[in-house]
Symmetry: C2
Subunit: 354 residues, 2 copies
């Protein structure tokens, strides 16, 4: 029986993003994962399809804020209500994953032979076959090794927007000890990391749910005392009691029981408008034209014309986004710095002009 | 009686522009003269007020296409229906001015001591007192000299977008013979013209209506035979019979009976979006922000947010216009070349997207 030779698989999709990086197309009411950034379909739909290639559809859980429930039900019509874990409060990835692990243990047919895979809902991954090959390797590793596995991406450039992982000894083919996690570097440091073979920290994790919960109990005092509320099914109490905490800071950077799986696929967290010019097919002049966008004599421009026509003429390296009632214009370089811009805008524009 | 010591004054405003230079804010249905380009009031309103400072309000006539009649009545509520000369067909400035001269002769109390002043409806002129001082001089000259007077502007820069006039001998203080008209020059030629004291051809004219009509009869065979239709009041026949012709090519460049009045005021034909950055008050960073425009870290940008908010971030020398349902983005330099752009756009965008 295949369920006995392998591991029971559960996939958790984290869909809690607040959506300021793709303003004005993304807003708190429509975070990035609901935008058609990688293709003409929302990122969440593509992520869900990848999850269903890893596990049976009913074993895919989505953790999100309550306000996103209508969007999820619209974009993922096959989703059953019990697959949606709606957070009473947004407290970051550590509490979210603790809750998901606890749910999986309660629902799994074979809790002792279950692997939990945590994926972000708003990343671009391709091609599917290489993603699945890497994840098969990682699922076996997570099942066998009693470690917290993270997926590391071979860098294609000295990116300053990602964290890096220095890998140590090879534990088994493709899976390594973690020497250290390092924060987003400056350009020169990033070049050094790439030359030294560091990998990007993708934020994809695999572990047995018991391993996660026992690691949290041992190394994450912010949550440890409250894990009992989860076991008792009192989710509201758990989220009410715990602080906001990411799994990276709260556990991964503290635990010695980590390993990194070296990925053999392309990955991008599409963290800013300019990232679309990396992940999308462009016209002959390097432009990306979405919806009612027209470019004449333009090069390397991104024109996102979601709620009305945009006509660009004689531009280079310019980003124009027309969405949510607002027209936003910037350069490829400065459009990365949206947080800074949004802090200087009136409230009504931040949440979209219409 | 003041009417006997001076000349009876009639002002003709030419309002026939087709409105492609300020696309997408200007469209065939709303040409440039109806846009608030020089201030927050339409150019035609400011022009009409200048005209009323030169002549009594009932002596101001407007020549325009029939489709503009509702706009004119809305923007100029004091206008009487008989002050509107609606062209049966657009045939350029020579037929339009012949018709206006003929109307003025028919309406004037003292046709022999009448001066006609022809102004474009879409130029920026300031300050008013220096405009009026120059025009007083020109009215006396047009009344006395039996010549066609044109108003020449002292150049403030080697502009390549204007025609120039080389002045000859001084006929009386401030009024000169015309040695020649020259077409729009290249940059080096323009610098030579400015150094040599040439003036810009403003397209403002003054003459006695009889002088215009007899000059047309003598030097403009394209119209000469049809002037009788005007005298007979058969405007439709006149416009049906004559070719399209400008007063510059059809008469001014042919006649020896020309003089140029040297103007002592600032003038701009605001021929393109970038011109607004010359004629409008700018913010501390050289930006012009109109309506719902927001600029953060921008320099020398024009943001025209007429039908919805525009947010610009980290831009320099960029023009963004949101009007008529379309968002147009270009550089200050390329936005001058709208004719080229519009030829490459689908029809529905040319006439506005909404």
């Amino acid at each position: 029986m295949s369920a006995n030779v392998g591991f029971e698989r559960w996939v958790v999709l984290l869909a809690g993003g607040i959506g300021s990086r793709f303003w004005p197309a993304s807003t708190p009411a429509r975070p990035k994962q609901f935008l058609p950034l990688a293709s003409d379909r929302p990122l969440i739909v593509e992520t869900y399809e990848r999850a269903c290639a890893l596990a049976s559809a009913s074993n895919v859980l989505i953790v999100a804020g309550e306000h996103l429930s209508p969007h999820l039900q619209r974009d993922l019509p096959g989703l059953q209500p019990d697959q949606l874990l709606l957070e009473p409060q947004a407290k970051g990835t550590a509490p979210a994953l603790a809750w998901a692990a606890s749910e999986i243990l309660a629902r799994a047919q074979n809790p002792d032979r279950t692997v939990m895979i945590s994926l972000h809902s708003d990343h671009v991954i391709r091609p599917l076959n290489r993603f699945l090959a890497t994840l098969e390797l990682a699922i076996r590793g997570a099942g066998d090794l009693n470690r917290l596995l993270t997926v590391g991406i071979r860098p294609s450039r000295p990116e300053t927007g990602y964290g890096y992982i220095e890998a140590g000894a090879e534990l088994r083919p493709g899976i390594f000890e973690v020497s250290r996690f390092v924060e987003k570097p400056d350009r020169a440091t990033a070049e050094g990391y790439v030359a030294a073979g560091f990998v990007w920290n993708s934020g994809m994790f695999l572990w047995r749910p018991q391993v996660l919960l026992s690691e949290l109990a041992a190394r994450t005092p912010e949550l440890a005392d409250e894990l009992a509320s989860l076991q008792a099914g009192d989710t509201a109490r758990f989220f009410g009691a715990v602080p906001t905490l990411t799994i990276d800071h709260g556990l991964m950077e503290r635990s010695p029981n980590i390993a990194v799986v070296r990925a053999d696929f392309e990955w991008d967290d599409v963290g800013a408008w300019a990232a679309l010019l990396r992940v999308r097919d462009l016209d002959d002049h390097g432009n990306l034209l979405v919806d009612a966008a027209h470019a004449v004599d333009c090069r390397d421009c991104l024109l996102w014309a979601e709620d009305g026509p945009v006509v660009a003429f004689g531009l280079e390296d310019i980003v124009v986004v027309r969405a949510s009632g607002v027209t936003f214009v910037s350069t490829r370089e400065r459009a990365v710095d949206l947080k800074n811009l949004l802090a200087q805008l009136p409230d009504d524009l931040r949440s979209g002009g219409s």
